[in-house]
């Protein structure tokens, strides 16, 4: 049960962080604007901040009295705190920088000459992106998305702060491990630890495979 909840939370979080991460990465890789490096720093912050600090920020923002949480509560009567959707938000924020960084590097490594070549060959900017930029960058994006997924799967601190540890509702794998160890349930702890490790090793192997360059240029 915690495994499926974890997969659901991590999967959804990966989807969110990838869509958002790729968009911001494209902006940062292709446009020059004031405050770009500040934006980059803010976007990378979740990697270096302690998860509990992030969780606290999210609680303040999303809580019933927070600016976003209060608005959601009043307009749609949606509560995020102590729900699995809350866990998704926590995991998305924590996993975001991994896919952002890796997508930005992937976009920056696509040489502008390929895009110029496509323009000269009659392509609109949209088609240049779809037919040249994206295909040349997608391995880096995919690798980043997989790392995000592994990170989201292992998320503990921020998730615990925002979603708590409600068995069957918000108790993800990594939180269940902690609870099992606390209650001396070694059998369950061993089982969960092995499952988590296997899933993470598989994801890392896959992401390494995608990070290997496919096209040798010379």
């Amino acid at each position: 049960m915690p495994l499926f909840l974890s997969l659901k939370v991590a999967g959804t979080a990966t989807l969110f962080s990838t869509v958002f991460g790729v968009s911001v990465a494209l902006l940062a890789a292709r446009k020059n604007f004031w405050g770009k490096e500040i934006l980059d720093a803010v976007m990378t912050l979740p990697v270096v901040l302690p998860p509990t600090v992030l969780g606290y920020y999210l609680l303040v923002l999303l809580g019933r009295n927070g600016p976003i949480g209060g608005w959601l509560q009043e307009t749609f009567s949606i509560t995020l705190i102590f729900t699995w959707q809350g866990a998704v938000i926590a995991a998305s924020v924590v996993a975001f920088p991994l896919v952002y960084k890796s997508s930005r590097a992937a976009f920056e490594s696509v040489s502008g000459k390929f895009e110029d070549a496509a323009r000269v060959l009659g392509q609109t900017e949209f088609m240049v992106f779809v037919r040249v930029t994206l295909p040349l960058a997608w391995r880096g994006i995919l690798a980043g998305a997989m790392l995000s997924f592994a990170r989201a799967l292992g998320e503990f601190g921020a998730t615990l702060m925002v979603a708590g540890s409600l068995p069957g509702k918000t108790q993800t794998l990594s939180i269940a491990v902690y609870e099992a160890v606390q209650s001396g349930d070694d059998y369950v702890a061993n089982f969960l630890v092995i499952i988590t490790s296997i899933v993470c090793v598989v994801v890392l192997l896959a992401s390494n495979y995608f990070l290997r360059p496919k096209y040798v240029s010379e």
């Binding site: 496509a118 000269v120 060959l121 009659g122 392509q123 609109t124 088609m127 779809v130 096209y215």
Partner: protein
Amino acid sequence: MRIDFSAKKRLYSGGHQFNLDIEFSSEEDITVIFGPSGAGKSLVLKMIAGLEKPDQGSVKIDSSVMFDSAQRIDMASRERNVGYLFQDYALFPHLTVEENINFSSRRALLTRPRKDEARLRELLEVFHLEELAKKYPAQLSGGQRQRVGLARSLMLRPSILLLDEPFAALDPLLRMRMREELKKTQRLFSIPVLIITHDPQDVAELAQRLILMDDGIVKDIVTLIGAPYRDLEGRPIRPKIRELLLRATGALDE
């Protein structure tokens, strides 16, 4: 065919200022812009293709005005229909030879590509690429890649073919052969060609109209039609060209 080009542009990089102020025209089949690296030659090609924008000036090919700062005309690259061979060809690494050549046939995601199968076959044949159609650029030799680049740029029957240092990446023997192939290609497709190069041999063997460029300006323009082509190493070349080339390369101290 006639090309009329004039452009002014001021660029800053790393605290240095570079001024480009160029004007030339040509009606010859093969026009060569010769000058040292950093003279601004690539910038001229990019301006013709619409990949760089002059601060002021105009780009005309025959009666078609592609850029004119006074009339506020600035056609997008995709509408200019110029053939462009990039310095290292910029073949799309994720596409096969055939897909590279056919790249321009598709213009939108949802509409059918307008495939010109006859043109594709013709280009594959002319450039001896039939056997290589399903290969990827990384599997090709330098000369083969260049032929793919040429075929790709000719697919749309462009009004002019722009070549950026086309032979710089090739070894000397191959270079000689590819110059001959280029002359043949030019005649076969009867398309005007504009080459930028810093190799005097390209000038000696290809130029019908020579534009000498240095430090962002045109130093000299010469028409060389019917010239007995000769080179810099003592083998026959007309004194005027030799002098110009030497002056341009800064080697004239006698």
